[in-house]
């Protein structure tokens, strides 16, 4: 996905002379073809994230579309004020390409885990927040970025991720994609982002074997949130389960819960938010190890759905919500 994203930067640059690349201290030879063919539009500025964002803002003010790239934690935490003021307050078309979103850098520990990136980027006015699920979808996103007039946060997955997205389902920034539709509107619906959509689809297959029919809706754009899609699937659902690779505070699950509660009131279905608790991960291993620790592997997602449906059958919506609150 990362390589696809960078290849797309060069591809977009060949199509549109406003496109520039601004990196920090990335791999040797990165975008070497772009550097060779258009050196005046290829920048590698060292470990200066604050400057990298301000410089990108200045380039955007002069009519350029900077694609600015470094590790997710550094392009969010280190220069948050620059992102807020230089990019969002000025509402400039800078694209932040964030390597290693979520738990990708599991072996490198908590300094490199972008667990709250979605939450803090989402909180900024004018910012668009995206997390596609595979390399094919990255191509669709990158094509759509060229004409988007606002700053965009582009969260990258590990790379080599299985391709589950489909060309025939279309793509537009801010438009969720139903990836699997349950036969009944009165079923559980999984709402996910990034590669958690892949795990959610796998969970749906496991549930189907047990005769539990669920929908899966993919939110490649967390902000602006496709509220119509949320409501369309949540209105008659037995249960909404949100799945994300990040802390639950302020993430996709929070965004969806806001819409469900505010728009559906007392008729809202129970909502279960799967993600990370309010803590820094302290284990290492691989990304899948951390998924396992936090209940984000397909079998665990399926188990959470089964458990929540069972709670609901036994005790009703209010008790399910209380139970969910207690677990959170």
């Amino acid at each position: 996905m990362r390589q696809t994203c960078l290849n797309m930067v060069y591809d977009l640059a060949r199509r549109d002379e406003r496109v520039v690349f601004v990196g920090s201290d990335l791999s040797p030879g990165l975008l070497a073809d772009m550097k060779r063919d258009m050196p005046e539009r290829w920048y590698m500025e060292g470990i200066t994230e604050q400057n990298l964002i301000g410089m990108s803002a200045g380039l955007a003010k002069e009519g350029y579309i900077p694609y600015s790239n470094t590790i997710a934690t550094f392009i969010t935490r280190r220069c948050y004020e620059q992102v807020a003021v230089d990019l969002c307050l000025h509402d400039l078309p800078v694209r932040l390409i964030a390597n290693g979103g979520g738990l990708v850098y599991a072996p490198l520990g908590p300094t490199h885990l972008a667990i709250e990136d979605i939450a803090i980027m989402r909180a900024l006015p004018n910012m668009t927040v995206t997390a596609v699920c595979d390399a094919k979808e990255m191509i669709r996103l990158m094509n759509a970025t060229l004409a988007w007039p606002h700053p965009i946060y582009i969260r990258l997955a590990k790379g080599g991720d299985p391709v589950v997205s489909r060309d025939d389902l279309g793509f537009a920034i801010g438009k969720a994609i139903p990836m699997r539709r349950a036969r009944s509107r009165h079923a559980a619906v999984l709402m996910s982002t990034g590669v958690m959509t892949t795990n959610s689809l796998a969970a749906a297959e496991l549930l189907a074997k047990d005769g539990i029919d669920v929908s899966v809706v993919h939110f490649h754009t967390i902000k602006p949130l496709d509220e119509a899609a949320v409501l369309d699937f949540a209105r008659d659902a037995d249960l909404v389960v949100t799945v994300e690779e990040g802390i639950r505070i302020g993430g996709l699950g929070s965004a969806i819960t806001d819409v469900v509660v505010e728009q559906l009131g007392t008729s809202a279905p129970p909502v279960r938010r799967l993600g990370l608790p309010d803590e820094f991960p302290h284990n290492y291993g691989l990304q899948d190890d951390l998924f396992d620790i936090y209940g984000l592997m397909p079998a665990q997602i399926a188990a959470s759905v089964r458990g929540a449906l069972k709670d609901k059958a036994a005790t009703g919506v209010a008790a399910v919500n209380a139970s969910i609150a207690a677990r959170a």
């Binding site: 539009r41 301000g54 380039l59 003010k61 620059q82 003021v85 230089d86």
Partner: protein, 282 residues
């Protein structure tokens, strides 16, 4: 090496007396202070001659067409000194002079820090410190790529350059040899909490900028002729950015406020204080 702040006196400037235009511009500052009943007095007064010379003699701009593509870009990175900028923009006709009376009021375009897109002539929204030089160097790169001859001037405060981001930007500007970029430092030597020598000593300041590959010059920041002499020569070198360190006096022109950190910002400014400010400028 100094052992205490007291051991190092402020640099004594042999500045000529303020002329009528400098006094007039300061009275416009007082007009905004009266309108808003608040404002960064000391930080604005130290900037007046810098702003005056830039807008009277140096910058290329069109008040009726603030986004004119070939204009010079001036970013006030020390956004809290914005009244000095507002005064020059009003004086040049970017907006009516009486807009100054609305400073900091609910529906005014003139806030306590300048906002781009709201105030004609303001290039970047500043206020959070340490942002302007990076934005300016991005603009300077963009202008250079487009082979246009616009210059980018970024005015920084001395307290502001405590921020590490300023030195990230300086390193980057030096690397790119941006001769169309000039950093102007309003070195009044008093930051909000007290003298810079006590709070965060910047010396040797000129050496720092030189080390970052800036052609660096020092000038009396209240001497209009001296400022003209420097600014009209920009860029000072064809192969690197310029730094102009302006030795200034915080609160310049208001005798009782000069060099006093207590006058960095004042709120609840009443009629009596306004009268005293006017009196000081007579």
């Amino acid at each position: 090496m100094a052992t205490s702040a007291e051991a190092v006196p402020f640099i004594k400037l042999a500045t000529p007396p303020l002329d009528q235009r400098s006094k007039y511009l300061r009275k416009l500052v007082v007009r905004a202070l009266e309108g808003g009943e608040r404002g960064h007095i000391g930080s604005s007064m130290s900037l007046i001659e810098i702003m005056r010379v830039l807008y009277d003699d140096v910058l290329r701009y069109r008040p009726s067409e603030p986004e004119w593509r070939d204009r010079d870009r001036m970013i006030l990175s020390k956004g809290h000194g914005c009244i000095a900028l507002y005064v020059l923009l009003a004086d040049k006709g970017f907006f009516p002079l009486d807009t100054l009376d609305t400073f900091c009021r609910r529906d005014s375009i003139l806030g306590g820090h300048p906002e781009a897109g709201k105030v004609p002539g303001v290039e970047a929204s500043t206020g959070a410190l340490g942002h302007g030089l990076s934005i300016g160097l991005g603009m300077a790169l963009g202008v250079r790529m487009q082979k246009r001859d616009s210059r980018v001037i970024v005015v920084l405060g001395d307290g502001e350059i405590d921020e590490g981001s300023v030195w990230e930007a300086a390193m980057c500007a030096g690397k790119h040899r941006l001769s169309n970029l000039t950093a102007v430092i309003d070195y009044n030597k008093v930051q909000s909490a007290g003298p810079t020598r006590e709070i965060q000593d910047l010396e040797p300041l000129a050496d720092k900028w030189r080390a970052f590959n800036f052609a660096t010059v020092e000038v009396d920041g209240h001497d209009v002729e001296a400022l003209r002499g420097v600014f009209r020569r920009l860029p000072l070198a064809q192969d690197r950015p310029t730094a102009v360190i302006c030795h200034t006096v915080k609160g310049k022109g208001i005798g009782f406020a000069e060099n006093d950190a207590n006058w960095h910002h004042k709120s609840k400014i009443n009629k009596d204080l306004i009268a005293k400010l006017h009196e000081a400028l007579e």
